[in-house]
């Protein structure tokens, strides 16, 4: 196919990762993290999503798995 699906997936998760990470850093120590057992899940999970997005983009650029 002309469009490699890994590229849009990579972009989506990289963007979502940046959004969560940024929001998490901006709300460090906020009481809203009592919900998530005191863990700032936005920072951690944002980083995971960002890395996942990056890997997808890299795979998409390489062309074949």
């Amino acid at each position: 196919m002309a469009l490699d699906i890994r590229t849009p997936i990579g972009f989506l998760f990289a963007i979502l990762g940046v959004l969560l990470l940024g929001y998490g850093l901006a709300t460090l120590g906020s009481s809203s993290y009592e919900k998530s057992l005191g863990i700032n899940v936005n920072v951690w999970w944002g980083a995971v999503l960002f890395v996942f997005g990056g890997v997808m983009l890299w795979l998409g650029r390489r062309g074949r798995p």
Partner: protein, 572 residues
């Protein structure tokens, strides 16, 4: 219950997702030149993409919400719907059936029936399937709109029309490819959106050992042995020993054989994804690749249910489930309530996006299957036989609009007449139950005839209805639950699930026997030449020797089955 207040960050995340969903449709619009591009992605999809779409098309919200609900109600035994009720059938369709689906160049499952049997068998399957897909898509829409209404206070009409419009746009523009690509995206969103929920939940209840200890309390409080919620097989010796109310034979035969093979091996909704693969080898690998994540899904969707019931019944953290009007717990709220309980703003947006994605993949899967069956099997067969390819491409797009509108209609119908919905669901279950017998005989017994297949299907459907009408789950009222044919039910089942499994077993057996009997007394109208590529004995075996073993369907199939056995043993 409280509704959730979303912050701007949550809306931003949701919006980014919608932009991508529509963007993919937009980017694919110029590749839709022929009807095969639109309905079958031009048979060009790589195996891993088709595999994830195969899984995702089935991963509608009913799956996510329903499996979490069952996890709370029945515990880890719900995993039978995966490790027994899906994996073996997925291996079977990849290894044994795909050569005939893909090799015959049929464009849909009903079309295979036409090539193998005759027009009336195809018509029966095509019409019931088309009706069922519109119905399921409408139910998905209804569920989405009602959930977002209670959860977020969104207007019901708004949710219906917006979700319908988005699915319509991306399918209208990009056809099946767009649906498949979005399903892959949705797959990752669902996994990455719900994984933190499992992590936080498990951490909260004290890890796996903490969870099993709490579930032991849940089980004994409800009058079962301590492991009833945390062992999958040990308590299936008798229906009264487990909360599902089933015993191992009904489970293995009813769910593991009839229902599961009937769904995974004959339902065009999933088979279409494999038919879109770029080669025979890729088509055969599609369900096998899907089987690997499928096997792990219990940890993502069932475990949250188990955590929820453990928290509700043993106390802790103030987690609660809302009650139904009759006082019982509303298990369908497990996932939404867990999201609200554990996810802070930001991650909550991601979780809700994942939930939204699961609703939309369920809808899109049904709509793409519907427009193909409608265009090829109904319109091209009965209404206009000799149109140009461009005409059928146009019909496909129009059918997409019609399919979405019909789904919207169904969704509104569901708000007013819940009984009609239950009734329709029951009728579809009757029609579907015997299907696998027809395909099994069609593919592996060359003597099976068109009359045999048609009468077999009709009798199987009738047998399902009769069995349902003559039996009743204990404690249920006569009516939609069964027992409507006899003053006193011939058999009382310990649970609705047990009744369902046995309805399926009876339907399958009736279809199997009637098809054989009628085939033997009718003439085979198809010559051996016509059946080449459609029946096992008349199809030359394709060798896949140039592929490494882990890329062949057989090698991958054995590996997948071994993994499933390991999981069953570990959680015995």
């Amino acid at each position: 219950m409280d509704s959730i207040r979303l912050l701007p960050i949550d809306y931003v995340i949701l919006t980014v997702y919608f932009v991508f969903v529509l963007g993919i449709g937009w980017a694919l619009r110029r590749y839709q030149k022929t009807s095969e591009d639109f309905f079958l992605s031009g048979r060009s999809i790589p195996a891993w993409v088709a595999g994830l779409a195969f899984l995702s098309a089935n991963l509608g919200a009913q799956e996510v919400i329903g499996m979490a609900a069952s996890g709370a109600k029945y515990g880890i035994a719900t995993s039978h719907f995966y490790w027994v009720g899906a994996i073996p059938a997925m291996v079977f369709v990849g290894v044994f059936m795909m050569p005939f689906y893909y090799g015959s160049r049929a464009r849909s499952v009903p079309e295979y029936l036409k090539l193998r049997f005759d027009e009336k068998t195809r018509g029966f399957n095509a019409i019931s399937f088309a009706a069922m897909t519109v119905f399921s898509s409408g139910i998905s829409m209804y569920a989405l709109a009602s959930l977002f209404e209670v959860l977020l206070g969104w207007d019901f009409n708004f949710s219906i029309w917006v979700s319908g419009l988005i699915v319509l746009l991306y399918i209208y523009l990009g056809g099946l490819t767009s649906a498949i690509y979005n399903e892959v995206l949705q797959f990752f969103l669902i996994v990455l959106g719900f994984a933190p929920l499992v992590y936080l939940g498990l951490r909260d209840v004290g890890g796996w050992s903490g969870l099993t200890a709490r579930l032991g309390e849940v089980a004994t409080e409800n009058g079962y042995a301590a492991g009833a919620w945390s062992d999958s097989w040990r308590h299936l010796t008798s229906p009264s020993a487990n909360p599902m109310g089933v015993e191992w034979f009904g489970m293995v035969m009813g769910l593991g054989f009839v229902l599961s093979f009937g769904y995974w091996c004959t339902d065009f909704l999933v088979v279409q994804r494999a038919m879109a693969a770029h080669s025979m080898a890729a088509a055969r690998r599609t369900p096998l690749i899907a089987a690997v994540p499928k096997m792990l899904f219990p940890f993502l969707v069932i475990v949250p249910g188990m955590i929820a019931i453990a928290l509700v019944q043993t106390g802790g953290g103030g987690f609660q489930l809302p009650a139904n009007p009759d006082g019982s717990l509303n298990y369908n709220m497990v996932i939404p309530q867990m999201l609200a309980h554990y996810f802070p703003p930001g991650l909550l947006g991601l979780g809700l996006t994942a939930l939204m994605a699961s609703f939309m993949s369920g809808m899109a899967g049904n709509v793409t299957a519907f427009n193909t069956v409608w265009t090829y099997d109904i319109y091209q067969s009965y209404i206009k036989k000799d149109g140009s390819d461009r005409h059928y491409l146009w019909v496909g797009r129009m059918t997409t609009i019609f399919g979405i509108l019909a789904s919207v209609g169904t969704a509104y119908l569901a708000t007013r007449f819940n009984n009609i919905m239950d009734f329709l669901q029951l009728v579809f279950a009757f029609v579907n139950a015997p299907l696998f017998a027809t395909f099994l005989l069609g593919m592996f017994w060359k003597r099976a005839t068109g009359h045999g297949a048609f009468l077999g299907l009709a009798c199987g459907t009738l047998a399902a209805a009769l069995h349902h009408g003559l039996t009743l789950p204990s404690g249920a009222l006569v009516g939609i639950k069964g027992g409507w044919l006899a003053d006193t039910p011939v058999k009382l089942y310990p649970s609705e699930m047990a009744q369902n499994f046995w309805t399926a077993i009876w339907a399958w057996t009736a279809c199997f026997l009637v098809t054989i009997a009628v085939s033997l007394i009718t003439r085979q109208k198809k010559s051996d030449e016509e059946l080449k590529g459609l029946v096992y004995a008349l199809t030359p075996r394709e060798r896949e020797e140039h592929l490494p073993w882990w890329k062949t369907a057989e090698g991958l199939g054995v590996l997948v089955l071994l993994l499933a056995v390991v999981l069953n043993v570990v959680f015995w």
